[in-house]
Symmetry: C2
């Protein structure tokens, strides 16, 4: 397997990697061979949970894409077209979205060939993943922006060199807004003066705003992030990078199916992004709450639970089967408790007794090290 860490190609810059791919295809043609490139299978059977590293990644199964193959030639040609466009974007130093790429392809291929082969955007996405895996890089490295979501506040600075002018953004001086986390947090950007004891990831923007208003991050010396629900690629990647700086990562979500999913996606990665698991998963992350076991400790929460939905219950049952979850007895207890009591708890409920109680809750959890694994 071309592990994401041991691949010699990783030392090359993305543009050179694309050129190497192009040259190898041209060589194949020159020597009368069937043009091909190798990628790693992203089929379900090749997505594994790696016990040792603690995240979802691709296994060893390789797949060859060849041109002279009735089943593959269209896809092969499309991938080459995507690679050529990305090479152009890198040369121009310009970024676009997958939708922008789609229209560039539709525009230029429409001139050379009769039928438009990129009639639907869904066709282009797997091709980009093919390239990401074959070249051991992320689409952001190919100047393709993914959807972004999430904001951050705390004592750190961002040096953003993306425009003509380098700017320094002080994330401790962003008022009620916070710094909007971009799609690409790796290229032409630096994070400096990170002066924090830990990172707190808060599922809901409303709670982030509550904590930000209380200057929680300043008092606690924390980096305060909200992914605004499920974390986008850029936010997952940034959390990984902050963990790499040695900061503990604490995740604070609802105690329901969606909240748990947000946590486990940050921690172990996801099926869809298993091919870049090493870049986006943060197995060191810990779950701070809210948990159903909080009901034993904070009496008032018992009157603030709400009814678990059928989706919550179904999902809890499924999670009991995941090997990376069922090995933790604390999580088995949580899941079984929801299934038994049919109750769930939202993080917003902590605002019941007073708007600032949520601050106290988090501080208690952290100082007592009361985390779920």
């Amino acid at each position: 397997m071309a592990s994401q860490n041991n691949n010699p190609k990783q030392e090359l810059d993305p543009k050179s990697k694309l050129e190497m791919l192009g040259k190898s295809i041209v060589e194949d043609i020159k020597y009368g061979k069937n043009p091909k490139f190798v990628t790693i299978a992203r089929t379900r059977s090749n997505i594994i949970y790696d016990q040792k590293s603690g995240f979802l990644k691709l296994g060893k199964a390789q797949e060859e894409r060849t041109f002279i193959n009735v089943a593959q030639s269209k896809r092969f040609m499309q991938t080459m077209a995507v690679a050529a466009k990305c090479h152009k974007f890198l040369k121009e130093g310009l970024h676009t979205s997958i939708r922008g790429l789609f229209y560039q392809l539709k525009y230029s291929l429409g001139e050379d060939i009769d039928e438009s082969i990129f009639s639907e955007q869904s066709e282009s996405n797997p091709l980009i993943e093919d390239l990401e895996v074959a070249l051991s890089l992320k689409r952001e490295d190919l100047n393709l922006n993914a959807n972004r979501k999430g904001v951050l506040a705390g004592k750190m600075k961002v040096i953003d060199k993306s425009g003509g002018e380098e700017v320094t953004i002080d994330c401790s001086k962003m008022g009620r807004s916070g710094w909007a986390i971009p799609s690409d947090v790796d290229n032409n950007i630096e994070f400096v003066d990170v002066k924090a004891n830990y990172v707190l990831v808060v599922e809901k923007d409303a709670l982030w705003q509550r904590l930000n208003e209380d200057n929680f991050w300043k008092k606690e010396n924390a980096i305060l992030i909200t992914p605004v629900g499920q974390a986008a690629r850029g936010t997952r990647r940034l959390i990984r990078k902050l963990a790499d700086m040695g900061l503990p990562i604490y995740v604070f979500t609802d105690s329901d199916a969606w909240g748990w999913y947000i946590y486990w996606t940050i921690k172990t990665g996801s099926i869809n992004l298993a091919y870049i698991g090493n870049d986006v998963a943060t197995p060191e992350a810990k779950f701070i709450g809210v948990s159903l076991s909080d009901l034993d400790r904070y009496e008032f929460l018992n009157k603030l639970t709400i009814k678990a939905s059928d989706i919550d219950l179904k999902r809890a049952q499924e999670m009991l089967n995941y090997e990376w979850i069922k090995k933790h007895k604390e999580w088995v207890n949580e899941l079984e408790r929801m299934i038994k009591t049919k109750k769930k708890l939202e993080q917003d409920a902590l605002q019941g007794p007073s708007l600032t109680f949520v601050d106290q809750y988090i501080k208690e959890k952290i100082s007592n090290k009361e985390f779920l694994p």
Copy 2:
């Protein structure tokens, strides 16, 4: 009708308005009268399009909420509970979301009464609207944050006094991220040094990022906003405020049902927010594109159209009936053209010939004043 502009109550601060409401209720009780307050009906029949001002607003129909009334007493009591909580938030100087308010009510009412009357969040929303209308203010003035969405870049500064410390954010130095537009753009916040010729509102964040990377706002001296799809309350309000500063507002969306809806919501307001139409609608806004008439001018776009969905076609038919749309022959032409050709056009298609073509398109439209009304 208590017009949003002529209401003498508007001169009072929100806290005093709530106190006046409370005092009048107490007076009613003291003199043996049935406690009551007056609001404006938000029923469909009382939502009107005001030709003169050019936006959707409430009509004159008033509604009385009284306590001694089997159909209303529960709602009346709930509204008073909401008012009391908001008064507390204002005294504390703290903000929360409607969800936070819901849990505060659930927590405190649960102590005094047997059954929890706020079992569902949907119950609290109409009560808050009742208060907003009765007091002629917005929920943001009651320290209730709404969902926020949208970013901005351009030559202007934000002075945000919400935290302990006043911060100045330079929206021309926010790199790839932009300044995240908050829920409340009225209280403890100022917009200064606004040095722009116009405001460009771009439906999609991906296009905003494209234009931001090109330093479009710097070259054109524009304020570049994306609402990221449908504009949130804060973004609509900010657009209104920028228009009040004398800046032309140009809106740039897809040429499909969703894009048109985004435009018309910014321009005329919406049914749901008709009760604050004066604060969030911007009738001065003009539509820059993309339009189906662009197909006649930019030949290449003809191969980049996509099939209109049934929803697009149904919605186009409906829009032909709206009095504020059907009066413009240019819009009737657009709508009829979609219905006839069953084609739509995305703003991303402008990236077909080159990633920077979108810059040229906008500049041409503006310098030729080619807008739809």
